[in-house]
């Protein structure tokens, strides 16, 4: 049971006149056992938030806390706590070593637990995890090239789960996938959430997908969190004009697209 908390986080890239504020004083809370959906257009800073939480980016100001431990500090406690936050990347092609059998990739996730596993334990755990994401455990020795995009994404999810994360961050994990495969991955996330009681930060620019998997929703624009709250409230009765614009732009099956909305 863990809560991930972004507390007034600010991230700047570059120096001097070329400086660019990617995240501007953003605060978010991912409540224990729930999924927070983070939406926004590209460049809104939503992926930067994820990268700060796992230590791939440094926050200039503010803190990211997992159960009270500041993940952004350099201490040993912070380093160990960071391993309990795992990130699933957008592109499953790039996220797996093309020359490493997928079973070995999944086993790599066990490193983060800090425990020692015997060879047999390791194999058993990899089989279990692959089974969990519906990949035939007998294929653990095959290279990523032998798997489709959706399967690869499920393997990266298995690798992240091997780390026994307190919080799972999914950064646009379905945007590189076909719609039918997207459904498979989304169903898997739902299943895992109820089976493992996962706490999750789900990042996407697709409002419908975010709505489907999230308990809470936060909307980011230009580095700021413009709105957050329970999914039903935010999406049914948005208070921010930008959220309304986003909702307005979602194509609806069989209905002519409203192109006349505000441009630029």
């Amino acid at each position: 049971m863990s809560t991930l908390e972004f507390d007034h986080v600010t991230v700047r890239f570059g120096r001097g006149r070329a400086a660019h504020t990617a995240v501007d004083d953003a605060s978010l809370t991912v409540r224990s056992g729930t999924t927070l959906g983070l939406v926004g257009e590209s460049g809104s800073g939503k992926s930067t938030m994820a990268r700060v939480a796992v230590g791939l980016e440094h926050a200039g100001l503010g803190a990211v806390r997992l159960d009270g431990v500041d993940l952004t500090s350099r201490s040993r406690a912070a380093r160990l706590a960071r391993r309990r936050v795992q990130l699933v990347f957008q592109d499953p092609l790039a996220a797996l070593d093309p020359r490493m059998p997928v079973g070995t990739s999944v086993a790599e996730g066990l490193l983060a637990t800090g425990r020692r596993f015997s060879r047999a334990e390791k194999e058993a755990r990899v089989r279990e995890l692959l089974g969990l994401v519906h990949i035939d455990p007998g294929r653990a020795g095959e290279r990523p090239a032998r798997f489709s995009g959706g399967q690869r994404q499920r393997i990266t999810i298995a690798r992240a789960l091997a780390a026994e994360p307190a919080v799972l961050i999914a950064d646009e994990i379905t945007s590189a996938l076909d719609v039918s495969v997207q459904g498979v991955v989304l169903n898997l996330l739902r299943e895992l959430r109820s089976a493992l009681d996962l706490t999750m930060l789900f990042i996407s620019h697709n409002l419908a997908v975010v709505r489907y998997v999230s308990d809470d929703v936060a909307v980011m624009r230009a580095g700021r969190v413009v709105e957050q709250g329970p999914a039903d409230t935010v999406l049914a009765a948005p208070s921010d004009p930008y959220t309304r614009e986003l909702l307005h732009a979602v194509p609806v099956m069989g209905q002519p697209l409203d192109l006349a909305g505000k441009d630029h």
Partner: protein, 568 residues
């Protein structure tokens, strides 16, 4: 690899050469050792003859035998030096790539400084340190080669170090050494092996050079360079004494270079292609159709040289001004179909069709100059990634006016006025300023609209948009579609929109064509999607969550079987 070694002339030559060199290295001193060291003063400095192919030296020793015997020393010294260069370079380069940023900068700066010294200078410097012996020369040349390899490895490794799988390993707590051994090294190995072979060739020459200068191998030992040195003294009297070792050096050097080239060809060669035009239906254009496609089949050569058909008999008609959407998943053949209609498939694609015509132009054959001009003006193509279809070094304005100037025959001024109009039409703010900017100064949505504007520079009758908004956010997607919609109103062009998003296509198009595995499975009017009959279409509609999907139930799943299949 093995097959290539045995089948191609180059492979055979390399195989033969390697056998000879290895044999000479292993057996040379045992077989020719006596002949190479037996002194025979009466026969000294004989010219080349059948008994002495390269003649004899000033002590009457057979030079051919000496060249063969020298193979061992020359090759072993070369391998030793290459080993030192590679080992040192890999250590330094990989270390540079996995270190934290400040240290990484320090190490790469050090490599760059070493690289700025001419290689020969380094080699001479080291050979002074280690003395003028064979081992000294090996160490000198080996160490002098380290910077080159370190630079290469650092560049290769840093591209691997920036991949998501290395980041993932870091997040999981993998130590830098573990990451380097398990992720970085295996992934840089192929280019490294190729460069090592090429480097061996250079190293061999370097040894010859050092020994020739008297800095390498010292008497009584001898390598090819030393033999060359001795032979060169009397080159005007008996040229073969110098040319013989020269031949050995050149052939072995070429052998290493060829080996490197062979190793670098990791992709099988594509079979030469030819356009297949099936005889049959005369291309009698359907009176009111703009695009007529019947029984379109497109094949691509597979890895083993056989042909794989990706589009199996597609029929499609587009009337002037019509907006047609093609929906399908990756691999459904939707893009290939669109590219065939635009005549943009590469030469490796084999296109066969009963009929494939655009506005009376047969798209299967070669085009006349007039037809090409008409296609340039009347067809516009918008791709998913506008950055790769815009030239990064030309201003947007220059690229817009090019269409009108080349195909439309407009003057610079008229073309520029037209470009400004087109940019205004696709709602790019401040067209006067934007027209002078480079593509990277535009946002993704703006680039896509600039592509549409480019299409408007001619007199388009068909705009083919292949996943034009897939990389964009919903709000930007709407702006781009708005621009596309305006373009159609303005010019009356038909639009062929390719997308995987059936909701988007149904909202923008008049008709929807659903493709799967290279076949059209269903055609529907966009406003009658609920009447879809085919289970695939129904599944495609149901599997996409929308703003009213029940969140307590799993999403319907289609094509899981396809997902379980191994992609070809």
């Amino acid at each position: 690899m093995t097959r290539r070694l045995l089948r191609t002339p180059q492979g055979l030559a390399v195989l033969l050469g390697l056998t000879v060199v290895v044999a000479a290295t292993v057996l040379g001193p045992a077989v020719f050792g006596d002949a190479a060291s037996t002194r025979n003063i009466p026969d000294r400095q004989l010219p080349a003859s059948l008994a002495h192919l390269f003649g004899t030296d000033n002590l009457g020793r057979d030079l051919f035998a000496r060249v063969i015997v020298a193979t061992r020393l020359s090759v072993l010294l070369t391998l030793g030096a290459v080993g030192i260069s590679v080992a040192g370079g890999v250590t330094l380069g990989v270390t540079a790539a996995v270190l934290p940023r400040p240290l990484r900068r320090l190490v790469t700066a050090f490599i760059d400084i070493l690289l700025s010294f001419p290689w020969l200078l380094l080699a001479l410097f080291f050979s002074v340190i280690w003395g003028t012996t064979a081992t000294g020369a090996m160490l000198a040349i080996g160490f002098a080669g380290i910077p080159v390899f370190a630079r290469l490895v650092a560049t290769l490794a840093s591209s691997v170090a920036n991949t998501d799988y290395v980041r993932a390993a870091r997040l999981l707590g993998s130590s830098p050494v573990r990451t380097a051994m398990l992720h970085v090294l295996p992934n840089i190995l192929p280019p490294l092996v190729v460069n090592t072979a090429a480097h061996a060739s250079v190293t061999l020459l370097s040894f010859a050079a050092l020994s020739f200068l008297g800095l390498g191998v010292q008497a009584p030992e001898y390598d090819w360079g030393r033999l060359l040195n001795e032979g060169a003294r009397s080159i005007y009297l008996e040229p073969m004494a110098a040319i013989g070792p020269g031949i050995a050096i050149v052939l072995t050097g070429v052998l290493f270079a060829l080996l490197g080239e062979l190793l670098s060809e990791d992709r099988p060669r594509t079979v030469p292609s030819r356009a297949v035009i099936r005889a049959g239906d005369a291309a009698a254009p359907d009176g009111d159709a703009l695009v007529t496609v019947t029984d379109l089949r497109v094949s691509f050569p597979a890895g083993d040289g056989s042909l794989v058909e990706r589009v199996h008999g597609v029929d499609l008609t587009i009337r002037p001004g019509e907006v047609v959407g093609v929906v399908g998943e990756s691999g459904s053949g939707k893009s290939v179909t669109a590219m065939a209609i635009a005549g943009l498939l590469g030469p490796e694609a084999q296109v066969a069709a009963g009929q494939l015509s655009f506005d009376g132009i047969d798209m299967r054959g070669r085009f006349s100059a007039a037809q090409r001009r008409r296609l340039g003006l009347e067809q516009a193509m918008i791709f998913q990634d506008p950055l790769s279809s815009l030239n990064p070094s030309l201003t947007v304005g220059r690229q817009l006016t090019e269409v009108s100037e080349v195909h439309g025959g407009l003057g610079r001024g008229a073309a520029t006025r037209r470009a400004l109009e087109a940019l205004a039409l696709v709602r790019i703010p401040e067209p006067l300023r934007r027209i002078r900017q480079l593509p990277h100064e535009f946002s993704g949505g703006m680039r896509q609209r600039a592509m549409i504007a480019m299409g408007l520079m001619g007199s388009p009758r068909l705009i083919v948009a292949d996943e034009p908004t897939t990389a964009l956010d919903v709000t930007v997607q709407r702006q781009v579609l708005h621009a596309l919609h305006d373009a159609r109103l303005r010019t009356g062009a038909a639009i062929l929109l390719i997308s995987h998003d059936i909701a988007l296509v149904s909202g923008f198009c008049d008709r929807v064509v659903v493709m799967r595995d290279g076949v059209v499975v269903e055609r529907l009017d966009a406003d009658r999607l609920d009447e879809a009959r085919h289970p695939y279409t129904r599944g495609l509609i149901a599997c996409v969550p929308d703003m009213t999907t029940d969140r307590d139930r799993p999403l319907p799943v289609i094509g899981v079987a396809a997902d379980e299949e191994v992609p070809v």
